[in-house]
């Protein structure tokens, strides 16, 4: 015998059972969403205690493992404490900065590309579709390497030379996949507006431009916000990738700090554990907020 009925908290006190054929309740799949929010759902589903737990593991693990070592846990945490202003002030702030600029460029380019994907102009639509698919399905690290290693480190404008810092190149590299994914967010949100809205506007003699800007986009805007925030959280988590290319952010600086402290292995867990905690503390509220907004905006009409 199977349990055919879902337990509804507060309604069904015990799971009812039957061996009669039963029509199962319809469960709306998330396929109707413009873009799925798997990452935000996963992150937001963890309890706030995860942060506390992370902290405890980080503090206790070395205590157990390295009890006999000369370099004590206290030393390790004191070292972290001394380096903290540097790691956060020059490191994590850089991650946030990179995420901001990437999101800015990625969003502007992505919106343009997304509108291109719904254009009636066929070559433009095909080009936008191809560009979107290309960058959406490429490994971020490969895109980063290509941009970092092929982009010039300075531009010549007449007699002026404008140099491009490494982190700015990293921003360009990360912007490409973000652009492609935002393009899909825009397309998905526009497609999720019922065709009746298009037809009503058309039958009132709205031009296509008027239909899109006055009717479709104002309605799809709200639907774009949750997936947009989802991508922002994913992007922020991905910013340490740029440490592989030598950009000075939290992971790069943590490693440099540990090197400066004679590479005691005891330092690994406090330093990288701190990076975990600070990313979690930054992204977790975003994920919770994303799901909250998604719930609010999903109530339509």
């Amino acid at each position: 015998m199977f349990n055919y009925f879902q337990k509804i908290p507060g309604v069904s006190s015990f799971p009812r059972q039957t061996d009669l054929p039963v029509l199962l309740p319809y469960q709306a799949s998330s396929s109707g969403d413009p873009v799925d929010l798997r990452f935000s759902r996963w992150l937001a589903s963890s309890s706030p205690w995860v942060m506390v737990l992370l902290f405890l593991v980080i503090s206790l693990y070395p205590m157990i493992v390295l009890a006999q070592s000369k370099y004590t846990l206290e030393d390790a945490f004191y070292t972290l404490w001394r380096w903290l202003p540097f790691i956060v002030g020059s490191g994590f702030v850089m991650n946030i900065l990179i995420s901001f600029f990437t999101m800015l460029i990625g969003t502007v380019a992505g919106v343009i590309l997304g509108l291109g994907q719904i254009s009636v102009h066929t070559p433009l639509r095909k080009f936008s579709w191809f560009t979107t698919q290309l960058f959406r399905n490429s490994p971020w690290l490969v895109l980063l390497f290509i941009v970092m290693l092929t982009f010039p480190y300075e531009f010549e404008f007449g007699d002026r030379i404008i140099s491009i810092p490494d982190w700015m190149k990293a921003v360009f590299g990360l912007s490409l996949p973000i652009m492609a994914n935002i393009s899909e967010v825009v397309r998905g949100a526009v497609m999720s507006i019922p065709t009746g809205q298009w037809e009503a506007a058309e039958s009132l003699a709205f031009s296509r431009t008027q239909t899109i800007w006055k009717i479709i986009l104002p309605q799809s805007f709200k639907r774009m916000i949750p997936p947009w925030m989802n991508w922002y959280a994913i992007l922020t988590m991905a910013t340490p990738l740029v440490s592989l290319l030598g950009v000075e952010e939290i992971v790069t600086l943590s490693r440099q700090a540990m090197e400066a402290e004679d590479n005691h292995p005891e330092l690994l867990i406090p330093f990288f554990g701190f990076a975990l905690v600070i990313f979690f503390a930054y992204c977790y509220p975003i994920a919770r907020w994303t799901l909250k907004l998604e719930k609010r905006y999903s109530v339509k009409l």
Partner: protein, 251 residues
């Protein structure tokens, strides 16, 4: 663009041997009829008989494969047709209302005249006020569509189409999604409109309404007009077995 040489003696809408297919499926197989100015015609028939497709072809929401549809002298089946010019003259009301959910009832009515006809905001506002009184919703003018009942939404949708001062109104099963008690308020609105001399083409399942209001009734089945006539003869004296069967089922 077609030269607009229409005169009131000619049919305001003239449908001639229209064929329309969706892929392999031919939904309209040579439909012809004329509508004179001020006439009310009802198109009835079983589901899937192509009624809605036909009415949607009249304002070019669907393109036709062959034949001709002339609306005030504008040829709909003309690749160079300026669809916006056509749609300024033809109002349409849908089964699902399709109001713009992010705008209030009044804004829904005001949008098209302001954006499309570029009329001044003051003119449009007073016009919208009188239209919303006409559909008896002056107390709901600042409500959003989500706050209105189906019947109220449908009346706003009618007012929204009227704001464009159309010459012809198309109604595509406008009461099919409504509760029986709200159907009446919408039908009364359409009746008022017909009494004022508006040319109306209705696709409907409301037989009593069709009988009372229509000047001419067309019965379609499987893409052809099976039978047509004024309501009295159509309902009392149907000839074709398909019409008889349909009427016996629905009445």
């Amino acid at each position: 663009m077609t030269v607009n040489n229409w005169t009131p003696e000619q049919p305001i809408v003239s449908v001639n041997n229209v064929h329309k297919s969706f892929g392999e499926l031919e939904v309209l197989k040579g439909i012809s009829f004329d509508v004179m100015k001020g006439e009310v015609i009802c198109i009835i028939g079983p589901s899937g008989s192509g009624k809605s497709t036909l009415i949607r072809c009249i304002n070019a929401l669907n393109e036709i494969n062959s034949g001709s549809i002339k609306v005030l002298g504008l040829e709909v089946n003309d690749p160079d047709l300026n669809k916006l010019e056509l749609r300024k003259k033809v109002g349409m009301v849908f089964q699902q209302y399709n109001l713009f959910p992010h705008k209030t009832a009044l804004e829904n009515i005001m949008m098209a005249p302001m954006l499309v006809l570029k009329e001044s905001k003051e003119d449009v506002h007073s016009k919208a006020q009188s239209l919303i009184r006409k559909v008896r919703l002056e107390d709901k003018q600042n409500s959003f569509p989500g706050e209105l009942s189906g019947g109220q939404q449908q009346r706003v949708a009618i007012a929204r189409s009227l704001a464009m001062n159309p010459d012809v109104m198309l109604f595509d099963e406008v009461t099919a999604a409504l509760d029986p008690e709200t159907v009446k308020e919408v039908l009364v609105t359409i009746k008022d409109l017909a009494a004022e001399g508006m040319t109306c083409i209705l696709v409907t399942h409301e037989m009593g309404f069709a009988r009372e209001l229509a000047d001419h009734i067309y019965f379609t089945d499987r893409g052809v007009i099976v039978e047509h006539g004024p309501p009295a003869t159509f309902f009392e004296n149907a000839q074709d077995p398909r019409t008889k069967e349909f009427l016996s089922q629905i009445l």
